[in-house]
Amino acid sequence: MAFQYIPNIAVKGMAACVPKKIEDNRELSLFETEDDRNKFIQATGILKRHTVKGSDLCASDLCFQAAETLLAEIGWERSEIGYLIFVSQTPDYIFPATACILQNRLGLSQECYAMDISLGCSGWVYGLTTIASLLSSSVNMKKGLLLVGDTTTITKSPKDKSTYPLFGDAGTATAVQYEEGSIGLKIHAATDGSSHKAIMIPDGGFRNFFSSDSLVEHEIEPGIVRNSLQSILDGPGVFTFGITKAPKSISGVLEYFDIKIDAIDYLVLHQANKMMNEKIRKKLKIEPEKVPYSLPEYGNTSSSSIPLTMVSQLCYPLRFRHNVIVACGFGVGLSWASVILETNKIVCPPVIEI
């Protein structure tokens, strides 16, 4: 069983950045009727989304801004930052790794551990676990930056009503430090590759190379037209997956580490859609005020959704209080992971827009 406890690790700050361009689902022409539109908005809870469309912005640019904003406030010397992990499925290049490019852009030392992790909705939890493990074994460097971001609006077909109105873009930065005495992280992680076709981009990897055919659009059904560089989302399949695996993972990690659900101040879920998330919340019998949503404003921002929800919705408690938080990411892979962490008056500037 993939449970892990990593003591002496503290999250010291978080920041998030979104592109300033907004697409409003209330104005989107993709829906055939007003009724369709209203049903969609009611079910998903997504009113609008921020997108990099029409700009040159990459996920790395959003993360860069988030990191700069965080570093400006947190007071770390850049030379003290020994670890940089970039989690994304929309990197700048096939190679080199985007983390190396960010190491230089952020003016970090050459003596910095830098790598990219490819995961989606579970990516923040995985990234946090990985950087925490590395910091625990580190001899000379005790601070790390976890940059998590995606620009999935680029990978969705504007003619696909099953995906397009769901997704938004964001980049985030999380400052993680090794600190004796900190409570640390308690983690559960799991994987189901047998369902990998539920969310995928068929072409452009090394299984099916990009070719001119990749750009040919196919009508899957009325209202769903896409090419093979754009992502597929098996909504019903993912729904079933989410409402079974996520609550099990969350109650599993609480049980394994013997923590009562009442001891939790906030449950931060990957922002899939309102209906799915509410089902998960109700299964766990957690009060609505403990479960923040960034869906209405930002949509599903893939790997960024947990940190973006924390920064946009929990800014006040994160800055001024001690909190016990459970976060759970679930999605593409299929891959899911939960973490219990405690934060104590961390740096958390408001969401920035560029």
């Binding site: 993939a2 080199p96 790794a97 003596e111 493990s133 680029i154 891959s335």
Partner: protein
């Protein structure tokens, strides 16, 4: 350098797989470049042969074959694997992560953590550092580290600067916690100011794929031809980088590990080309007989080259306990070294498919 140290964690088994499809460099692209060019390049790079994955074969397929062989040879209970890592810059899909597909193909439990790491020539050592870090925490029992590349797909066969260098392969390693393993030391570094030394310009999200990005064009006065989705390399500056950074890093690592850099049993370097590697070894004053190479048969296989060299060259040489240096350097730029003990490491026969 980010320094990491561990105790009681090690590699219990290692395997590698390569395609059977063999490229004879001396005969390669003779119609286009002429025999002489091939001969000159081979004599300088030391790369006589390489393996190319046939159409339809991915890095993950090579890793899968290597992993099946290793898990069978080690007779491991697959349910004890708590983490599967896949390292590659040639993954199956943009999403989902290939590690997730391999979790399923290898029949591993759904309670397995899985993620992909994107790095190149430094990545095996980076991958080890991740696996060691997770294991040091005590929660996970065994880690399956998979590292595969189909670099043959990345470079243009009509660009002589890179056409003769790269090959394909995949490896699998099982790592675990056991008191028998001694101390190990890692140093890991990066320098994104050198991002342009080895790169593919298009096909990521900075410059997305289009009909334009896959169009071939002549890129220099020598008539070399590639598209924006092909990799390129500034060989001279890569060499400058290696001369500049690697000896410095190894000196610091050995100081930190309180180990005489000349006292180790084996030194396994990333297999770039024999000219660069020989120079590096000479500069470091390391005895050549302690430096195994596999590039003459497999070329530069990026992150795979270090473990592939161990499987190819050290299977019979390794004693019960061996202190080794692993050193990878390249695309990023990114470089990583480790001094560790290989104790009773089970090495499988090379798989060809």
């Amino acid at each position: 350098m980010s320094l990491l140290s561990f105790n009681g964690i090690g590699i219990s088994g290692l395997s590698a797989a390569v395609p059977t499809n063999t490229i004879d460099n001396l005969a390669y692209q003779n119609a286009l470049f002429g025999k002489e060019v091939a001969h000159d390049i081979v004599s300088k790079t030391g790369i006589f042969e390489r393996r190319f994955a046939p159409p339809g074969m991915c890095a993950s397929d090579l890793c899968y074959a290597a992993a099946e062989k290793l898990l069978t040879d080690l007779a491991i209970d697959r349910s004890e694997i708590d983490l599967v890592l896949f390292i590659s810059q040639t993954p199956d899909y943009r999403m989902p992560a290939t590690s997730v597909l391999l979790q399923n193909r290898l029949g591993l439990s759904k309670q397995t953590a899985a993620f992909d790491v994107n790095l190149g020539c430094s990545a095996f050592v980076y991958g080890l550092s991740i696996a060691f870090s997770f294991l040091q925490q005590g929660g996970f029992r065994k880690v399956l580290l998979l590292d595969g590349e189909t670099r043959s797909r990345v470079y243009s066969e009509n660009d002589r600067k890179v056409a003769y260098l790269f090959g394909d392969g995949g490896v699998a390693a099982v790592l675990e916690r056991d008191k028998k393993f001694g101390d190990s030391y890692f140093s890991l570094n990066s320098d994104g100011s050198r991002e342009n030394l080895i790169k593919i310009d298009a096909g990521g999200y900075r410059k997305p794929s289009s009909a334009d990005t896959v169009a071939s064009r002549m890129v220099d006065d020598f008539g070399n031809v590639r598209s924006e989705e092909h990799g390129y390399m500034n060989g001279a500056d890569v060499f400058n980088f290696v001369i500049d950074e690697i000896p410095k890093d190894l000196r610091r690592l050995s100081e930190y590990a309180e180990t005489d850099l000349h006292s180790l049993d084996y030194y396994i370097f990333h297999q770039a080309n024999s000219y660069m590697n020989n120079y590096l070894v000479k500069k470091l004053k390391i005895p050549v007989h302690k430096v195994p190479t596999s590039l003459e048969r497999f070329g530069n296989t990026s992150s795979v080259s270090i473990p592939l060299t161990i499987v190819d060259k050290l299977k019979l040489q390794l004693k019960e306990s061996n202190n080794v240096l692993l050193c990878g350097f390249g695309v990023g730029m990114s470089w990583a070294s480790a001094i560790l003990e290989m104790r009773a490491c089970q090495i499988s026969d090379l798989v060809e498919l």
